[in-house]
Symmetry: C2
Subunit: 234 residues, 2 copies
DNA sequence: CGAGCGCTTGACCGGCGTCAACACCCGTGG
DNA sequence: CCACGGGTGTTGACGCCGGTCAAGCGCTCG
């Protein structure tokens, strides 16, 4: 999965009022007065699998609201290896740290087809001090990010390889179709759980053999969850 | 280290204007107008080693600014074991998540003698919408917490036992005396790095034998860093 | 001075990393 | 349409790191 910088990710300008996922996102409870305070365009953007949304240390134009798809946040450790610190899903704010510092702390890469809207920092700074509604939403998004980070550590980086993979499978289950789950490349999964790709592959395979999960495609990405309890107590 | 609930941690009411660590903390750049908006007392509190500041799920009265000492944030995993997700130091906000949800996501326990001031949620909610200065500080504190979480994962939960312990020793070095470092009980250190206490002990001992560090007390808590480079490249 | 807690050290073993071969999917080009 | 090749996933053999169990040591504090 080679990251490719997509020059032309721009897809147009958003009208947030009619956003499909508006109840999930930052602008959920803005009123008309709040919208009138937005004086810069919200850009609509799309990235394919592997697309680079930003790099570690980049100066930020804005923060991104994730409308569709999943994004991995990658840090390169001092010894050169890559560590995936978290993955974000629809409704999450990608690059929220730019609100505090103006630049990004990690690299953000699309794990599948991704749609985001980019909200300029100027809009955020202006609105968040003037609209208590956005202010509150923002607190919730910071909290969501922080809890996501702590959960990631406590759930996926603790215990045996089997326990980690089991938790991962459950964490990545689909919101709408809860008996299905989407995995990633074995190497990415390894970087998320601090395991080698062979170990990940072995654990997944053994769960398939034991009928806890069932493959739904031939690429090892989509599975049906057959025995949730057995996974939980793995 | 058995957590003890300290009934009477209350030590008085703070005058934030004369706070010794004010430049580090939330109220760093408040002006007199801002202070006049504070209509509830800021409580000054102290906890001894092992003191329980709050438990997972507790309803929050306020958030805590850490003025002295260190605090561990502990989560109990589904299988009963304890995981230390982060440790906080002077200037950090303990329990910042309460600003978003009103309750605490983890347990907070003092790792040594700790002094905090408790800022009521009402004060935070009132001030943070009315004072852009506090609003900005708050963004920085959220960012500090989130970056702390990501760093913790990337630095301390990756690589061999030796690498983890080496990073830990460097992370816990003193701000003022940079060749000294304070460790914790081997069990706590294990819970922080996902290692068993015997493994932690072995790695520390081997670094002492190799003269990378030198014990400064007889309890295994205080060390002098002799060869920083060797630790970095461990 | 003795009890108890935490740290250290040793012996052993199992889980996971390492290295390597192979299978499978898919896109490309003959 | 099929041959080929690269990328990804799987599986096996083997060795080592770190977990487990247990003993012993040295503080510290009654």
């Amino acid at each position: 999965m080679i990251p490719i910088h997509i020059e032309s990710a721009w897809k147009g300008t958003s009208d947030c009022r009619s956003c499909g996922v508006r109840d999930l996102v930052l602008f959920a409870d803005l009123n008309e007065d709040d919208f009138s305070l937005i004086h810069a365009p919200i850009d609509d953007m799309a990235f394919p699998l592997g697309g680079l949304i930003y790099s570690e240390g980049d100066k930020a134009i804005g923060v991104f609201t994730l409308r569709q798809g999943m994004v991995k946040l990658v840090r390169s450790t001092t010894d050169g290896r890559e560590r995936i610190v978290r993955v974000l899903r629809a409704g999450d704010v990608v690059g929220i740290e730019a609100l505090a510092t103006g630049h990004f702390d990690s690299e953000a890469v699309a794990l599948n087809d991704v749609k985001v809207c980019r909200i300029p920092l100027s809009v955020m700074h202006n609105l968040s001090t003037k609209s208590p509604r956005l202010h509150n939403r923002l607190m919730q998004k910071w909290h969501q990010a922080l809890k996501g980070a702590d959960d990631w550590l406590a759930d996926l980086n603790f215990g045996t390889a089997r326990q980690r993979v089991a938790k991962f499978i459950l964490k990545m289950r689909h919101a709408e179709i809860p008996d299905q789950t989407s995995l990633f490349s074995r190497e990415d999964m390894g970087a998320m759980m601090d395991l080698k790709l062979e170990t990940v592959s072995r654990e997944v395979s053994s769960m398939v053999r034991e009928r806890l999960i069932e493959p739904l495609d031939k690429t090892g990405r989509l599975y049906r969850i057959r025995e949730e309890k057995a996974l939980l107590s793995a």
